[in-house]
């Protein structure tokens, strides 16, 4: 059994080597580990993995914990996972978080369902919080029946960004309030084999493709559901002509003049391609402007901005914000409010400017009117600050389309619980149409079934 013995001796030796390596690695990782437990208060907050949120996570120890003595443990998740976790936590009375980050889709619904703490008395009662400084559209989108249920940390609308130089080279003028037809014509004209005319979201998800598509749907006169007189959803409207028109317009535009692999493209992919000069125009969130005009951006200074394109309505830009809310089951609501008041207050914005990686242009935009009066911000964000504020004020949250619909306020989503699932599953189908693997009629009939079933 000589073979077996050498075999096992060798493998024993390798095992020892492996164990020693493992021990070394463990030792090394522990070398830098923080020690001990402190008796300081600690709150647990769930936030989304955006740049501005990661900035505040970095700045919390020095700007907040140092002054208040409250430690903050962050759970940073991507949008989809964050929603699952917060919805389940808030909806099941979970105690894992003291504060959660949600958007204007969830805030009114959770608030009306009695699952969130009413922030109005806290916000109004704190003079330094400047409740009236919050941009009204943003504030109202996060409220229900006059009660604020989530404090905005970051706000955005949508608009069109384009390369001034490319358009000029092709002799295309972009008006400040373009129509979708004008934009489509421009895109088809300026596209080349190496540069797409426009980047539009195509990745499935009610907050990805769903957001961009729904604004187009609205301004084409369509909607997801019609409303009963009492505001509740009545009938699914996916099978209506306006929906098909919007779907055909969107998908053919992307197929003709849009980015490559559109079915996989959302904000990040379009951002990368725009900065790499692979697309000439981009319809997406206003917050992108901050990155495009940042000091290290390859396209800095080359960008023009126009309001979200329209067709049958006067404005169509969406409204979204990431906001902090306190679940009713939060273990420590008073410290949670102290944190929220700091994170969404005026002082943080001023303190963040000189400290965050992208400079003043990267501080959380779109929440307070006063932000747009800060001199350094006005200077750094000169190219887009004014139009961003105007877009946010113009977002038609109470009347986004041409017909009556349920789930208001809301532009790019329908504020009813069923929309999340319907939106996710229908955008899967729409994405397949964009990818060319499904016919528009098939997608429409399946989506109509999903939408009708959901409100039964």
């Amino acid at each position: 059994m000589h073979e077996a013995r050498t075999g096992s001796v060798r493998s024993r030796r390798t095992l020892v080597v492996v164990l020693i390596t493992a021990a070394a690695v463990i030792g090394a990782t522990f070398a830098g580990a923080a020690s001990g437990r402190s008796t300081a208060k600690t709150i647990s907050v769930a936030i989304v993995a955006n740049g501005q949120m990661q900035d505040i996570a970095k700045l919390t120890p020095s700007l907040f914990t140092a002054k208040s003595g409250i430690k903050v443990k962050y759970t940073i998740l991507d949008e989809g996972k964050l929603r699952q976790v917060t919805t389940r936590d808030v909806g099941s009375g979970g105690k894992a978080f003291d504060a959660v980050m949600i958007g204007p889709y969830e805030a009114p619904q959770f608030g009306v369902a009695g699952l969130l703490k009413d922030l109005t008395p806290l916000a109004k009662g704190d003079r330094t919080y400047s409740y009236n400084d919050l941009i009204p559209a943003v504030r109202n989108a996060l409220s229900a029946n006059g009660h604020l249920y989530a404090a905005p940390f970051y706000g955005e609308s949508s608009f069109l960004m384009y390369r001034k130089d490319i358009l000029a080279k092709n002799g295309v003028k972009m008006p400040l309030h373009p129509t979708w037809q004008q934009v489509a014509a421009a895109a088809r004209k300026i596209k080349t084999s190496s540069m797409a005319g426009i980047c539009l979201r195509g990745k499935p998800g009610w907050g990805d493709l769903g957001a961009a598509f729904t604004t187009v749907l609205n301004t084409f006169g369509g909607t997801w559901w019609s409303a009963k007189p009492n505001g509740k959803p009545d009938k699914a409207q996916v099978d209506q002509p306006a929906f098909k028109d919007a779907l055909d317009f969107y998908s053919t535009l992307v197929q003709d003049a849009g980015e490559k692999d559109a079915a996989n493209s959302s904000f990040n992919e379009c951002l990368t391609q725009y900065q790499a000069g692979k697309v000439a125009m981009w319809y997406d969130a206003t917050v992108a402007a901050g990155t495009l005009e940042a000091s290290d951006s390859p396209v800095k200074g080359k960008n023009g901005f126009a309001f979200a394109p329209v067709f049958k309505t006067k404005s169509s830009g969406w409204l979204w914000s990431w906001a902090l809310a306190i679940p009713k089951s939060s273990p420590d609501p008073s410290d949670a409010w102290k944190y929220i008041a700091w994170a969404t207050g005026k002082q943080y914005l001023r303190a963040a400017g000189p400290r965050v990686k992208g400079g003043w242009a990267s501080i959380p935009p779109g929440t307070r009117v006063s932000t747009y009066r800060i001199p350094q911000y006005k200077k750094a964000a000169k190219a887009f600050a004014a139009i961003t504020l105007a877009a946010m004020k113009a977002a038609p949250i109470n009347n986004p389309g041409t017909t009556k619909r349920p789930g208001l306020p809301g532009v790019q989503y329908v504020g009813i619980p069923q929309f999340q699932d319907v939106g996710n599953r229908c955008t899967q189908l729409i994405s397949a149409v964009i990818a060319g693997s499904m016919k528009d009629t098939a997608a429409i009939s399946q989506c109509q079934q999903i939408a009708a079933q959901a409100i039964k």
């Binding site: 463990i26 923080a34 647990s44 769930a46 759970t75």
Partner: protein
């Protein structure tokens, strides 16, 4: 002719040297192609983000990404925390699994109880319920018993996940032990524990090692329960890896570095014990 029970260490029956050389080259080609995605990821982990995104190498190789991902802001999930959590959860759950599987296997192999077939089937059938379906009931109870965000809840769940497989495999290895040896030990009056130690375990050892390794692999790599039931403090390595998928800017190099770090322990363990695995599986995972 010598009767060799193990092959793979000499020329196969009837094969000429050149044939073997040709097959050897083919094997090299296949192996390198198969490992290419991993090799490319390792390569990417040493690049800058710009090079990673463009698949070029203008800015040379650097260890900076590894240090990028090893540092973290206070208050967010750190490599140290995730690593410790993973280590504890995996070791504890695997040890307990083996401790429970051994007597169960004994009862199904050496001294089969009457309904052993049904019991085995029952064990395997517990794997038919989709993990995603059981998550909500589990969440509800974990919440009730204050286990959300702890290592304990993961340990409990991983034991449940791995135990069926461990019982089944260990039972097969126990079947390999020649009946005569066991009967001899019984006649001698050796206690159950000593029977296990002196007779059964030495023979079944490679198989048991193989089983333990599989449990370690599945526990270390488990993502779904860890994500749904644990937040900042209780997170494990899989969650730490995905936290490196950033929404701002390019992240491919950092993600590659994080992936390599996260997978390294199990990969090293697998490499070190692969021969044992094969020997264990060949012994009779089949009976």
């Amino acid at each position: 002719m010598t009767v060799r029970k193990r092959r793979g260490t000499r020329l196969g029956v009837g094969e000429r040297r050149t044939f073997v050389a040709g097959v050897g080259m083919l094997a090299w080609l296949v192996g390198l192609l198969w490992i290419f995605p991993v090799a490319w990821t390792v390569f990417t982990s040493f690049k800058t983000e710009q090079d990673a995104a463009a698949q070029t190498l203008h800015q040379g190789l650097t260890l900076a990404r590894y240090s990028d991902v090893s540092h973290s802001t206070t208050g967010t999930l750190s490599l140290q925390t995730a690593f410790t959590n993973s280590l504890v959860v995996v070791i504890v759950s695997t040890v307990i699994v083996m401790l429970l599987a051994l007597p169960a296997a004994y009862a199904l192999a050496i001294r089969p109880i009457h309904k052993w077939r049904d019991v085995l089937f029952f064990f395997i059938s517990t794997k038919f319920l989709p993990v995603v379906a059981s998550i909500f009931p589990i969440y509800v109870y974990a919440e009730k018993w204050n286990l959300i965000g702890t290592r304990t809840v993961l340990i409990i769940l991983y034991i449940a996940i791995n135990l069926p497989l461990a019982v089944w495999m260990t039972r097969s290895f126990f079947m390999e032990v020649p009946r005569e040896l066991i009967e001899a030990a019984e006649i001698d009056g050796t206690s159950l524990l000593n029977q296990l130690r002196s007779v059964i375990l030495p023979i079944a050892a490679p198989g048991i090692a193989a089983t333990a390794l599989l449990c370690v692999i599945f526990a270390w790599n488990e993502y779904f329960y860890a994500l749904q039931l644990n937040f900042a403090s209780g997170s494990t390595m899989p969650q730490w890896v995905t936290s490196n998928v950033s929404t701002r800017g390019n992240f491919l190099a950092k993600l590659s570095a994080a992936s390599i770090i996260a997978c390294l322990p199990v990969v090293l363990a697998g490499w070190a014990t692969q021969k044992r695995m094969i020997r264990g599986l060949s012994m009779g995972a089949l009976k």
